[in-house]
Symmetry: C2
Subunit: 597 residues, 2 copies
């Protein structure tokens, strides 16, 4: 009954689009539509309009294969380039990345041109994709990335004559890439493209792979830099030798030194800005992935209520969460500065262990509080009568997968830590603190994931729905007789016709029930908002600390002695980037939970 | 119209099951069903009966978290135990695995008891899950695993007095575990459980994790063994020292030597049988995962035609595929034996490079043939008029994911090889062969994946359907007027009512069309069968070679010199197990493609 208009709509849309642009793809789909009626078309859910494609999975498979091969090639080069002994150099990596970025830039221009020329290219948009705070974050990180590129260009141009040209070309191309891609994602993040399906998929996968390759390269570069400045013997020299590695041309090493002050500022500056560039790549990857999932998708407008939720920060909160979060944030910054100064300046082991103790105690307090708050939040959700939101939503599915997946990084570090501490013999106070820290890290990640995932799967608050409650009750079910409710099983789509007759009374009843439960709801929701705001700010400080250089994993010798100089750095360098990404991703998700509750 | 009986059926089923067993879970679901009618239930596809659960994802999340934590703990211990320098010993790992296996055994007994007592526990079964060849393979590997356990028990009991008891207990418990789990999977692989949902999910995830942990332990054990026998200096002694590592109690080392002949046989025997145990764990993991996906699932009987496809090997083939495959298989076995003998006996580099050349040439021929055949198969699919099968099928989704995922292992090795060969300076014939081998490896995996995935997504042949063509044409579409076909768009579920009126004529027409295309179909299908049989046999030999000890990656020095002694073994030891698993999984999938085409 209610399905009819949508289907008609989609047929018209399809016909018009097959007359429009995207010639090649549409010819194939036309050919297939001639074959299709011979064959069986069993069980397409009647409410979603059919995709033009014969076999969506097949179309996706090719783009995935392309991405896999490119990603592996990049991974091989980047990981080989990280080792001094291996005859793969950073300019090999830069060359590959530059070529990839240039191709992506070309594709983005082609995409923007082809979709703007053709009005039917984007028949619908996914309102969940690319929310404003994600795009806002992307622009913020993009600006810092541009500054980083300027610093890099400045640094390398200080001794232009000794370097291969690619070292200067790379940051220039990267700057263009960042600008073009940010513009592209700002205007196209919500698109559900319906022309040039396969080309678009491959282009998006190429973009995704390029971002991941840039991320890998940045993470490796940063880890190598950290390793060199940690295990330092003549730090500057060694670092410098590494930076120039085989980038030298023919001139002598003397005139290629970074001795001028401006050069030093550029050098330090761009390493401090790396974390932003790293987050930029990851944010862009996530948005591009959602776009890829949305290629060829028809959004079912029934299941797709567009929530106009506003970010009203200072209207509905008690400030407790924000104040507590800000206290943690500021004290965390203080701890970080103190820690960095003490660890880097002193060589005494007593000072070092003092700094470590301070760091661990702060983290234990912070993680403990966060765990408790997350448990509290999950308990509140137990009593929350809001419905679970089961609609298809690629953005949320990705969010959940990324939260669960990136937590693995921190889990792995913590488990290796725990095993090392438990099996090592000298058990002092720092070890005890380290053990508590590792255990709490695991607990906090687990509880926070549960809290966020529950929050993301709730329907937005009901008061925002009331305006369209009449329309929605036609899809859902409302009963005039409350006593009948307990006897009905929830699966009753077929009884729709009979119940809509008593629709008018039904709506009044459900409104009445809602108004009964409203005051309690508000109490709970305020608590949830406090909790998510507190968690958000705490996650920011827990992102800042490792992202800007705190590495207790290396400053504390227990694990290093237990696993050896090659295994422990490998574990930390591979897993920590995921742990850092987890924090930033949790911030984005918590913002969504805050707005939804 | 046709949906009605199913829905009624499921309502009855749900009511009866909520009166039956699984008290705790059902109470929760009853409570939720009382709440549910108040809330919106937008857009559940009307043909699938609703699940009892409020939020399936939430139920799954907890079991995933359990699995993740256990898997990480096991991974930490296993990887630490592999290094001699790290103070984690193999008996720590054995202890953890033994405890896990005992819990799993207890849970399986509980599961079998609770589901057999309660007739409503399994209202439906997934006919795609646990096909007979997978279960057959499982039993085959289980038998070899049991033999391996016997060998292990025999070996360790030769010097019982010097070992910690866990080294003997472990194979005993493992044997019991294999027997219990094989029985469990044989009878329960298809179950869609509907009682104790959360307990069942956690139990299955525990089983899955245990299998993966056993797999990790076996793979590590085998790699260490291979590494010790490759880089040998006084092989037997060192190996022996490693095997006993810290398993010694107090007695002197002399009486703990494995000097008797029977002990040596046991020792060699169990290392030769490891590949079967490894495959057993992976097969069991895959089946348990599908069971986990099926917990709480209601199978929609419309979309779920149970194909009674028979494995008629010698009826519909030209034998070309089998003969060619057998030639490859037998000559591959010959090459493997020659290679192993030459590499292990001689220390001359010329003999070594001769053996390597032989190995590479055989593989290049084999991979080249396979790639060509896969391309041919994919071209045939282009002209195949059979419909794509889009039904939900967790088994197939898992198959595809595993094929794509495990191919990454071989891809990574090949990419690292290629980079090393291209960047290394001395380019001789062996390097050229190695490069060709690596490139063909990538190509063959890619083409084979495309071929298998296309094959798995085809509807089974139409002649098997003819018996129920009447019923199916009611869901699909048949047109009396062929000229009308080219004008219709495929999306026309809404026109069902109008077309079924002309059903009788339609069926005759479609039969007529089918009979026109039938001879061509048969030709193509015979080719596809030849192709899949050839690929199947080739994959078996490509499984046997690395599984039973051929490691050209280490016998050839290029990569080892390029990446160093720690990085290259790490890459190969982590990636090769996935590559080996890929081959065995491809065999299982190709068997399915063979039967379906």
């Amino acid at each position: 009954m209610t399905d009819e208009p949508v289907r008609k709509d989609s047929e018209i849309r399809r016909l018009s689009s097959s007359m429009g642009c995207g010639l090649k793809d549409d010819k194939a789909s036309l050919a297939s539509s001639q074959i299709a009626p011979f064959s069986h078309q069993p069980h397409r859910p009647p409410s979603t309009p059919a995709s033009k494609e014969v076999w969506k999975k097949g179309g996706r498979m090719f783009s995935i294969l392309l991405a896999v091969h490119l990603a592996l090639l990049a991974c091989t080069l980047v990981s080989s380039g990280a080792f001094e002994k291996i005859a793969v150099h950073d300019y090999d990596v830069f060359f590959l990345l530059t070529v990839m970025m240039l191709i992506v830039i070309a594709w983005i221009i082609f995409y923007l041109a082809s979709t703007s020329r053709c009005p039917d290219a984007i028949p619908c948009r996914d309102s969940h994709a690319g929310p404003i705070w994600l795009r806002g974050g992307l622009i913020l990180f993009a600006i810092f990335s541009l500054v980083m590129d300027v610093f890099k260009i400045g640094y390398y141009s200080s001794f232009y004559s000794c370097l291969s040209a690619i070292k200067i070309i790379y940051p220039i191309v990267q700057a263009i890439f960042v600008v073009v891609q940010t513009y592209f994602l700002w205007i196209s993040a919500k698109d559900c493209v319906h022309v040039h399906l396969n080309v678009t998929r491959c282009g998006l996968m190429l973009t995704l792979t390029t971002n991941l390759a840039v991320w890998m390269s940045a993470v490796t570069d940063e880890s190598v830099h950290k390793a060199h400045s940690k295990f330092r013997k003549n730090v500057t020299e060694e670092l410098f030798r590494w930076l120039l590695k085989v980038g030298m041309r023919s001139s002598s090493a003397e005139e290629c030194n970074c001795n001028s002050q401006i050069c030093q500022i550029f050098n330090n500056g761009y390493f401090w800005l790396y974390p932003f560039n790293i987050e930029y790549s990851l944010f862009a990857s996530a948005m591009v992935y959602v776009m890829w999932k949305n290629v060829g998708r028809f959004i079912d407008h029934h299941s797709h209520h567009i929530h106009r939720l506003k970010f009203r920060l200072f209207q509905r909160t008690f400030f407790v969460g924000i104040v507590l979060g800000l206290i943690i944030l500021v004290s965390g910054l203080g701890v970080l500065v103190l820690y960095e100064v003490q660890i880097n300046s002193s060589t005494e082991s007593s000072k070092k262990s003092q700094a470590l103790s301070m760091y661990y105690i702060f983290n234990i307090v912070c993680l403990g509080l966060m765990s408790l708050v997350c448990i509290g939040g999950s308990v509140i959700y137990r009593f929350d009568k809001r419905d679970m939101d089961r609609h298809k939503n690629p953005t949320r599915t990705l969010d959940v997968a990324l939260l669960m997946g990136s937590a693995l990084g921190q889990y792995a570090i913590s488990y290796y830590s725990i095993v090392a501490i438990v099996a090592s013999t000298p058990r002092d106070a720092v070890s005890a603190l380290n053990l508590t820290y590792a255990l709490l890290m695991i607990a906090q990640h687990t509880f926070q994931n549960i809290f966020i995932i529950e929050g993301l799967h709730r329907q937005p608050p009901k008061e925002d729905h009331r305006c369209d409650s009449h329309q929605k009750d036609l899809y859902g079910l409302t009963f005039a007789n409350i006593n009948a409710v307990s006897l009905r099983v929830p699966d009753s789509g077929s009884t729709l016709a009979s119940t809509t007759a008593s629709g008018a009374e039904g709506i009044h009843t459900s409104d009445f029930i809602r108004s009964l439960t409203a005051p309690k709801m508000n109490w709970r929701r305020k608590f949830l908002r406090e909790i998510s705001m507190f968690l958000l700010l705490s996650n920011i400080i827990l992102w800042i600390m490792p992202a800007f250089g705190a590495r207790p994993q290396f400053d504390n010798d227990t694990e290093l002695n237990f696993y050896g100089d090659s295994m422990w750095p490998a574990i930390v360098d591979i897993c920590l980037p995921f742990g850092i990404f987890y924090r930033m991703h949790a911030v984005a998700s918590l913002l969504e939970v805050y707005i939804m509750s």
